[in-house]
């Protein structure tokens, strides 16, 4: 089943060599990772029906092979509270180049982390964990280990982050579940090894880590250039 999902994701990759978010999320879910309840809605009526089903507030994102950096194109709206706002987002997204649908999903909360992978020339597949969000490259607070990871690696990665106290529970906030984070990292490490050299790099960013679980809110898989 994972094999099928991998093939599907790789085959559906855009001409520029990256996997569309819904395909990437489907692949991650099949691999045993957690993603929000989501649906790609080509029509606005479907979007409204789906949002009604999962319950407001929701997140809406543009699906377009030409929109790799969705937020830069204003193709992401978080915290949509009702049908009108959802219709409004749809209307705007439809004007984005390459529009082929609107992804509607439930909102996940927690500490934003980035989980990533790349194929390093000298060391092969490596896994990254860091403080996530849109400012990752500004804070550059990350830890890197060679795959496959073992549980001890995940603990030492967290321990080496400057912002580790945000994960350990800071000023009254709950600590994130290390059990869930370890599980997520080890499952991701397995997936990375299964993908082998077919990909170049993967960003799971943000992954929302809470006291209960780690949910992958956005995913970008860039394929290897052959």
């Amino acid at each position: 089943m994972l094999k099928t999902a991998i093939c599907k994701a790789l085959n559906s990759a855009t001409e520029s060599g990256w996997v569309l978010e819904p395909d990437a999320k489907h692949l991650l879910r099949t691999a045993g990772l957690k993603v929000p309840a989501f649906k790609v809605c080509p029509q606005v009526s479907e979007a409204v029906a789906w949002a009604g089903k999962i319950g407001y507030p929701v997140v809406a994102k543009v699906v377009s092979p030409k929109a790799m950096h969705k937020s830069e194109l204003k193709g992401v709206v978080v915290g949509i509270g009702d049908d009108d706002a959802l219709r409004e987002a749809y209307k705007r997204f439809r004007r984005i180049d390459g529009f082929c649908g609107m992804l509607v999903e439930s909102i996940a909360a927690g500490v934003e982390v980035i989980v990533g992978a790349k194929i390093d020339y000298q060391f092969g597949p490596v896994i990254l964990l860091g403080m996530g969000g849109t400012a990752v490259e500004i804070y550059q607070d990350t830890a890197i280990r060679m795959a496959p990871l073992i549980e001890r690696d995940v603990w030492s990665m967290v321990g080496s982050l400057k912002a580790r106290r945000l994960l350990e529970g800071y000023r009254g906030s709950e600590a994130v579940s290390m059990e869930a984070l370890v599980e997520t990292m080890l499952t991701f490490s397995d997936l990375v090894l299964t993908l082998g050299e077919r990909f170049e790099s993967i960003d799971l960013n943000p992954v929302m880590c809470s006291a209960e679980d780690c949910i992958i809110v956005d995913a970008r898989i860039v394929l290897a250039t052959t």
Binding site: Q122, F123, T142, R145, M146, D203, R220, V222
Partner: protein
Amino acid sequence: MDLKPLFSPETIAVIGVSRTNDRHPANVIYSKLRLRYPVKVFPVNPKGGEIQRETIYPEVTEIPDKIDLAVIAARAEFVPAILSRCVKAKVGGATIISGGFAEVGRADLQQRLVDIAREADFPFIGPNCLGIYVPRQFDTFFLPGQRLIRPDEGSVAIVSQSGGVLVDQMVKFAGQNVGLSLAVSIGNKAVVRELDLLTYLSQDTATRVIAFYVEGFEKNEGRTFVQAASRCGKPVIVLKAGKSALGSRAVSSHTASLAGDYTVFSQVLTQHGIVEARDEFEMVSFCESLSCYQRSISGRVGIITASGGHGVIAVDTCSAHGLTVPQLNSDIETDIQKHLSVSVQQIASLANPVDLTGSAVDEDFIAAATGLSASPDIDCVLILLLPYSPGISSDLGARLSHVYQKEGKPMVAYVPHEEKYRMLIEGFELNRVPVSSSIEGAVLMVEAMRRCQPC
């Protein structure tokens, strides 16, 4: 591939000696081998003739003795044929000093060497290298002996891609009295590479620590190297050159941008318990420390000083290097206090750092070192020894190292490296307690022990 003939040869052929130019690399090598080392050496040049009143053999195949090592310093285009004749003569291995291969775009010529060697399972170092230095046994450096700073024999092996860096590093080792089991510059590393040397040196009884100067690995070679290093049973130290990213490659994702080549390199080393030295200074301190201690510690330091100021500086330096200087429990303090000399009892400060003051005598240091060695809160003792104090004798180094031998808690010392304190310093070093000429260096020695574990 059997690398033994490369590193412990009894017979050496130097191929490419000149009859007329004494400064030719082959002549420099021939000369030093013949005059200074316990090896039998044979000069080779197709033109024959004599050098230093010895007959030059026209071919390696014509030497009557079985040759362990051939040192090849001839023009690049002749080297493939020379290598073939070495194989034919059943030479044990070669060091190819000559340049003019992949480093100048002649990858084809280098590939011919590799093909010959692979087919015959024939090991060679280089090309484009200085080759091998084994203290008191032999060396293939084309640098005249009188120009070299030569570290004495010891237990650190260094493998360097660059010959120039290796020679420079040897100066620093000699300066800190750190001895070498072997130093080798591998140049273009066409056949014998870091991994081969790691495997060989992990079995070499003279080597306790293996240090590498690496510019870069081939595809996935780093992966195999770190896995082998973490299993090799000896501390491995790596100094990486080429840390800055060349140019601004366009990257496709945050991960690709955040996980640059050097960042990955550095963190993967840490993951596998390989100690990364950031510069040559760290390299020397780490090597000296880990050649004495192969067990890792968590980094809780107990400091003994005869000067309050040195204690404060040491605490700051420990803190900057991720080490802690914990409080001592009162039992330990009481125990130390009990054993101090009467005059020092009144004025010593027994919190960590233990400040014995300028009035301290040898016995006070022994009492403090014994007390700290017994403390469960301390896993390394750092001794700041100022030999200017009138109560300190030249025997103190040896006496303190006996405390280590008895108690088993790692000890490092700072002693100013001045000639007149040599006996004090040797008292430590000959009994395998590392000594640095600076507080920073001594703290680095402790840090090496902390970092020598997978995390």
